[in-house]
């Protein structure tokens, strides 16, 4: 899961990494109390799970009450790259001498953890220059490696000790919380040479959630996504109006691509999963019926271990119970597809021999209905 800045900083603080004094609120009343407690000036920071906040004005300095009254509600209403502000972090500003970059991440290609550090922080990682890169196996960073990295990015004096301490703490956090990424960007070097984490990004491994009950409070899922997970399938809501259902993540992604190539837009990504049953697929259709913007349903199945009849029987039940009133366009291949086609023949589902034909028909139909 991707933690918001204030949540990442909560973890930093737990592991002894210094952060600026800050308070988090979700409404203007609490925000006012926080402002009073913190005292002006401070920074108002939108909490969203994407980068690029600064560019769109979702991080702003605030010097007095008038500015607060104007800016807090503005930022609270703001969206960054389509992500709504989840909360507001008010944070004290620090006297900064220099900004560094530091992260520890799961290097997929090399299959190990890797440190990236740079003397030039505060920009997105793609633009970070003079990167010092170190592979560190399972994520454990010993003192010697940390010192070498500190020196390579040009730190001197007490900043070296501070950096070693920060990196080792970040390493402990990465290992103990099973993070795929733990990034401090920027690390601020203060006038006295000490280091502080000005911004933080932590992404943990969702597959290790069962070992981390303590992180559950950070989990953010829509009701639909939560119900999907409980039933063993994946549902991701998207912007368009055609619901896409298939078996296998790759096949559904591929269907999304072809839909988009043909001028259609997906309302959701729904992978029924390898363990699909008529009940779980029925639950999936129930969830789709709750997505208001859906105007058509596109089904692409390559039956194997999950038989196409499993999905077909869920559709029959859904028709019987009047769960579906939207047009359905289906391409069924593989295990028991003849039987499935026979089952669906009498229903309103339109059957196609190729996914391309099904997509074309779905796009045309949805256009017609405006």
């Amino acid at each position: 899961m991707r933690l918001l800045e204030y949540q990442a900083k909560q973890l930093f603080s737990e592991f002894g990494i210094k952060i600026p004094k800050g308070l988090t609120s979700k409404d203007v009343e609490q925000g006012r109390k926080d402002a009073e407690e913190l005292g002006f000036p401070f920074v108002i920071k939108s909490q969203v799970p994407v980068g690029g906040r600064g560019k769109v004005g979702a991080i702003q300095k605030c010097h007095n009450q008038d500015e607060f009254n104007l800016k807090y509600p503005q930022i609270l209403e703001m969206s960054v790259k389509g992500e709504k502000t989840r909360a507001i972090l008010l944070e004290k500003m620090a006297e900064i001498k220099k900004e560094l970059y530091l992260s520890l991440f799961l290097n997929r290609g090399k299959r190990c953890y890797t440190i990236i550090a740079s003397s030039e922080g505060g920009v997105e990682i793609e633009s970070v220059k003079n990167q010092v890169i170190r592979e560190v196996g399972l994520g454990d960073v010993d003192k010697q490696v940390a010192e070498e990295v500190a020196k390579e990015i040009g730190l001197k004096g007490n900043s070296v000790t501070e950096f070693v301490d920060m990196l080792q703490k970040l390493s402990r956090l990465t290992i103990e919380k099973e993070a795929e990424l733990a990034e401090i960007n920027p690390v601020a070097v203060l006038n006295d040479g000490s280091l502080i984490a000005l911004d933080g990004k932590v992404i943990t491994d969702d597959n290790s959630n069962f070992r981390h009950a303590e992180l559950e409070k950070f989990q953010e899922r829509s009701e639909l996504e939560e119900r999907a997970e409980k039933s063993g399938f994946t549902l991701i809501e998207l912007d368009g109006n055609i619901a896409v259902i298939g078996n296998g993540a790759g096949l559904v992604m591929s269907t999304l691509d072809m839909l988009s190539d043909n001028g259609g837009k997906a309302a959701c990504f729904l992978d029924v999963g390898g363990g699909a049953t008529p009940e779980s697929v029925y639950e999936a259709l129930t969830l789709i019926s709750k997505i208001k913007k859906v105007k058509g349903i596109l089904v692409n199945l390559f039956g194997g271990i999950v038989k196409t009849t499993t999905v077909a029987s869920a559709f029959i039940k859904a028709y019987d119970e009047k769960l579906i009133d939207k047009p359905v366009f289906a391409r069924l291949m593989g295990a028991e597809s003849d039987k499935s086609k026979e089952m669906l023949k009498e229903t309103k589902t339109k059957l196609f021999d190729s996914v391309e034909a099904a997509i074309n028909a779905a796009v045309m139909e949805v256009r017609k209905s405006g």
Partner: protein
């Protein structure tokens, strides 16, 4: 590293040539039992199952043992396929490696990355090939199937098929088979961020196969396995026809698209990045799975 064909088939003249013994870990579970039957039907020589606490019993006439060690001692098998819940994955994988298994096909989805890394470390030290986790498996069509893929899309032939995704592997195999391109080997890399056998490793495993005529790579967004592979193909001067397909062009950034590994950060992991690297390696990239066989046929025409 051991030769994958030798592990899967053996050598002509071996007593168990094309009948290599395979162990199933988690044979009595819902998936383990179902797929044991399907693999047997396909002709895979399943010789033992492992379920702790059920040693001495039988499943479909296959003896069950309490540990992999006992199963290996009794059968001499070097191959195991693993069906256990993700929570118990690391323990089961370690047990297999320590018992002398040389090819481990790891089916489970949702294995924590840390567990995969620890397993891989151990596998390297013991010269073990891991396929997966989160893989549909590996097969030499019409000889041996160690995995959960349906049988019908695959046919024996001379094209190697490597895929991150399961269903897309079936889809593309079906497309190839219908066009007359059988497969010499089909290998599922798995949809996780950490793969026991990466695309590049799989390429190395199969590229020198004597009867190999061409290769198809089915990738998807996330990571840079496709880019690394494309670079390796350029560097190794591999001249046989290759065609690729990449899923996920329309996927939004920073969203995990069903597979744990299918996520784009910035340009890292994006379909554009992969497609442009394949283009650089002179490998055509299909826009849809149904186009793969056609592009491959085109490549063959040019190379003739």
């Amino acid at each position: 590293m051991a030769n994958i064909f030798e592990l899967l088939q053996g050598k002509e003249g071996d007593a168990d040539y094309n009948k290599k013994p395979v162990i199933v870990q988690g044979i009595t579970g819902k998936f383990g039992s179902l797929h044991t039957k399907l693999m047997q039907e396909y002709g895979t020589n399943i010789v033992a199952g492992v379920t702790p606490g059920k040693g001495g019993q039988k499943f479909e006439n296959i003896p069950i043992y309490n540990s992999v060690k006992e199963a290996v001692d009794a059968t001499g098998s070097k191959i195991s396929i693993l069906f256990v819940p993700a929570k118990f994955f690391l323990g089961a994988a370690k047990e297999a490696i320590e018992a002398g298994i040389k090819l481990l096909v790891a089916i489970p989805e949702h294995v924590p990355v840390r567990d995969s890394l620890i397993m891989l470390d151990l596998a390297k030290k013991n010269d073990v090939i891991i396929i997966g986790p989160n893989t549909p498996g590996i097969m030499i069509p019409e000889i041996i199937k160690i995995g959960i893929m349906p049988a019908s899309p695959f046919k024996s032939g001379d094209i190697a098929l490597l895929s991150k995704s399961g269903t897309l592997m079936y889809e593309v195999a079906n497309n190839l088979t219908e066009a007359g391109f059988g497969q010499t080997i089909t290998l599922g890399i798995g949809g996780d961020p950490i793969n026991g056998t990466r695309l590049i490793d799989a390429f190395e495993m199969v590229k020198d196969t004597p009867n190999l005529k061409g290769m198809v790579v089915v990738g998807e967004i996330g990571g840079d396995a496709e880019e690394v592979l494309a670079q390796r193909i350029i560097d190794s001067n591999f001249k046989k026809p290759i065609v690729a397909y990449i899923a996920g062009r329309a996927a939004p950034k920073e969203k995990r698209m069903g597979h744990a590994g299918a996520i784009v950060y910035g340009n890292y992991g994006s379909a554009e990045s992969k497609i442009s690297m394949f283009n650089k390696a002179n490998i055509p990239v299909a826009k849809r799975p149904g186009e793969v066989a056609m592009l491959l046929a085109g490549k063959f025409e040019k190379s003739d």
